[in-house]
Amino acid sequence: MKKYLFISLAALMMAGLLSAQSQYKAGDIASDFKLKNVKGEFVSLADINDTDGFIVAFWCNTCPVVKKYDKRLQDLHAKYASKGYPVVAINPNDPAVSPGDSYDKMKETASKLDYKFEYLFDETQEVARKYGATNTPHIYILSWKDGKLVVDYVGAIDNNADDASAADKKYAEDALNSILKGQAVSVAGTKAVGCGIKWKKS
């Protein structure tokens, strides 16, 4: 009996570790979700019309790295939404841990920075967990294939957070350009350095 208990405990711990570490990677099928946007409407990816895919960005109001990338995310939306790949930004931070990331502050940020893309609140943090997002910013490029959302790219927007003009590897743009040409994405995963997601304290 003791032995079984030990084995099941070990299995539980393993499962915990696996779920904590697993992250969508290229080729995986991503889940859709229904989250509240800054206008108070609940939005699913499937509800957004005329899309071939999405640039899903785990995002927030407070992280200095997000702020560095703010203009670049808006530029991605301006360039690729009309080509079928709009940006959908998601704030997964717990406002109890990070008060600047509350829903009200999201509304302020979206209005102040004039976000043209959806900015959604992942209040339960389920979407961030399911996607395996670790930081903000953290980018997932998804494409519709046979009614499913297939992951094409996971990681950073480019390779210079400090200075956009010094970035010489534009991972997200390169991936999108390949997708639009029907070519394979050459760099389908990078590590995204940023602010750790502020998880709820259990």
């Binding site: 670790t134 390779n159 210079n160 400090d162 200075d163 590590k191 350095v193 940023g194 750790g196």
Partner: protein, 160 residues
């Protein structure tokens, strides 16, 4: 008078070199050199930034233990990922305000994906993380998240 002047100059130069030493800018070659250090001592290498609140929370523990372990076979290196454009405006004022005297270096290569896996293949890009190693005894442990003071102390005892 001349002696006084000389003393003043050497003090100023000393302070300047102390400052320069405190915040050496490094790239991949210097990082590789640290990681390959043959010295028979426990290296505790923490990756952090002033913009990362959990990093800022744990930094005093490293400072405190660096003091306690001075000359006792443990070398602490705090590698900051602060943006190069904010070294003067954010990082140095932070170090001065918090009286950090431990060894601090700034990683100025922002092409993270070209070096993150040199530190550890399991590193997801989050900070803080801390690498403990002694190449002479082939000990190595990568801690993928923040630490409490007790956890840091216990890990040093365990790997020393």
């Amino acid at each position: 008078m001349r002696i006084l002047l000389a003393a003043l100059i050497s003090i100023t130069a000393g302070l300047a070199s102390l400052q320069a030493q405190k915040i050496e800018k490094i790239g991949i070659p210097e990082l590789e050199k640290i990681l390959a250090s043959p010295a028979d001592e426990l290296h505790v290498v923490n990756f952090w930034a002033t913009w990362c609140p959990p990093c800022v929370t744990e930094l005093p523990y490293f400072e405190k233990l660096a003091g306690e372990y001075q000359g006792k076979g443990v070398r602490f290196i705090l590698i900051s990922l602060d943006f190069p454009s904010q070294i003067e405006t954010k990082l140095i004022p932070f170090l001065e305000k918090n009286k950090i005297s431990a060894e601090v270096k700034v990683m100025t290569n922002l092409d993270y994906n070209s070096w993150i896996e040199k530190v550890d293949e399991g590193w997801q890009g989050n900070i803080p993380v801390t690498l403990f190693f002694n190449n002479a005894t082939k000990k190595r442990y990568f801690h993928p998240s923040e630490l409490t003071e007790k956890e840091l102390r216990d890990l040093i005892t365990k790997h020393k």
